[in-house]
């Protein structure tokens, strides 16, 4: 009997180690999955509000740079707006513009937000934004910055939301070539935060360096046609049917300060159809 107690006493630290390590791995598997990262609920409220105060200070220091990029974006939007309204006016009379405004249903809703905390050094990176449920943020909304897609909202609390950054091993973005419209998947596998890989592009489609890659709108997360980056390197691998393409991203995640959260109002419908397809496929199998 005494022996058993001695053995137990010796093994006790190891047992504690195994117990604590299993809890840790449970957390890792539970919270690092694409659709199940629902951690920031309570504990992170403290961290988020603390980080927000710090971000206030850093964003004050970065103000000139941010202002410049906002002004640039404003200018680009204004230009686009003039072009569109001019086009409509030239196509029809003034009254037509009014009619159009009424008849075009709003399919997207945009909410601006400020980055509270942002990680870039891990393999699974997350961004926390100071907009939450009270601002109408929902799960699965997409986030873009003025230089490209940022990620998908995976968790919402009252005042904050957590975005799975595209710099995340488990994230992917449906993209296409701007000129030829060939579709592929953009993935990031760690390493350089300024480049990502373009996958699932068949070998017969040759891409040149400098070609623009934009979002395809197929995944119904991101709106169509948002520029993501340019092709940096194109190479072929004899082992697979797909080309290896490296894309240089327009976004610099280390300087991310403001994002726009976009809700695709039609997404629910698209999602419902996708779900039925999955159900039918399952039934057939």
């Amino acid at each position: 009997m005494g022996n058993i107690i001695v053995i137990f006493q010796r093994a006790f630290p190891f047992l504690v180690f195994i117990l604590l390590q299993s809890i840790a791995f449970y957390i890792i598997f539970k919270y690092n999955d694409y659709h199940q990262a629902n951690i920031i609920s309570r504990s992170n409220y403290l961290a988020a509000s603390f980080n927000e105060k710090l971000t206030d200070i850093t964003s004050f220091i970065n103000m000139p740079v941010q202002n410049e990029s906002l002004v640039k974006e404003n200018a680009r939007l204004r230009e686009e707006l003039y072009r569109v309204s001019k086009y409509i006016q030239s196509a029809s009379g003034d009254s037509m513009v009014e009619k159009l405004k009424l008849s075009i249903p709003a399919t997207t809703r945009v909410v601006p937000g400020k980055v509270v905390s942002n990680t870039i050094a891990n393999l699974r990176n997350y961004v926390i934004i100071n907009k939450g449920r009270k601002d109408g943020i929902k799960k699965d909304m997409s986030a873009i910055s003025n230089s490209g897609p940022v990620g998908i909202v995976i968790d919402v609390t009252e005042n904050y939301c957590c975005i799975m950054s595209i710099l995340n091993k488990d994230a992917n973005v449906s993209v296409r070539n701007r000129t030829t419209k060939n579709v592929g998947q953009l993935r990031w596998k760690g390493g350089d935060i300024k480049t990502a890989l373009l996958e699932e592009v068949p070998k017969h489609i040759k891409l040149k360096k400098g070609e623009i890659i934009e979002t395809s709108g197929y995944s119904s997360y991101y709106p169509e046609g948002i520029p993501v980056g340019t092709v940096e390197k194109y190479s072929e691998d004899s082992k697979s049917n797909f080309a290896n393409i490296k894309v240089r991203l327009y976004s610099d995640f280390s300087k991310l300060k403001y994002v726009y959260l976009i809700e695709n109002i039609e997404r629910q419908e698209v999602r419902a159809i996708e779900d039925t397809i999955v159900k039918i496929q399952k039934a057939e199998n």
């Binding site: 006790f12 630290p13 791995f25 957390i27 890792i28 870039i120 050094a121």
Partner: protein
């Protein structure tokens, strides 16, 4: 006793702050990802009971995870380092915890303490990056990243150490 603990808590707070606000934004082609916070765990006295020491590691890792959005990786690696510490220390130092409980530059000397911290940080980073990547395939990438990140982490800690402890004495 008291000053020892205030000193340790001070180090703990500083390394946490450095980790959250400085080290997390370092990413040079994804090769540098220094984790400086395990220094706090490594410097805790050796006579703490192993199970309690691992619990400290668990909760400290959890705090770091909340602030760095690393969701569990900090906990796993912190628990690992608290478990492995006695074995790592036995490699370079042969006094038992009963003889000398405290780990400090005053007792063991700068060289030994920094060597010990470096070994501890290498083990920590190695475990962390293996768990984070979740596969053995890129072993050379992990080894390179471990070496570069732990070197940078020990340099960061050395800078902090010099600023706080060495410079004022020279005045």
């Amino acid at each position: 006793m008291n000053s020892k603990w205030t000193n340790l808590i001070f180090i703990g707070i500083i390394v946490t702050l450095v980790q959250v606000f400085t080290a997390n934004s370092i990413s040079f082609y994804g090769l540098f990802n220094p984790k400086i916070y395990p220094v706090f765990l490594l410097l805790l006295p050796r006579d703490i009971k192993p199970a309690f020491y691992m619990l400290i590691g668990f909760f400290y890792g959890a705090i770091i995870d909340v602030f760095c959005n690393t969701y569990g990786f900090g906990i796993a690696s912190s628990v690992f380092i608290t478990f492995i510490r006695p074995y790592a220390l036995a490699l370079i130092y042969n006094k038992s915890p009963e003889e000398e409980s405290e780990i400090s530059v005053k007792i063991q000397g700068e060289n030994l303490v920094f060597l010990y911290l470096f070994i501890g940080l290498i083990l920590f980073h190695l475990f962390y990056f293996f768990v984070e990547l979740g596969e053995i395939a890129n072993i050379f990438y992990i080894l390179l990243k471990t070496l570069l990140s732990s070197s940078l982490a020990i340099i960061l800690y050395a800078i902090f150490y010099m600023m706080v402890y060495s410079l004022p004495k020279r005045k």
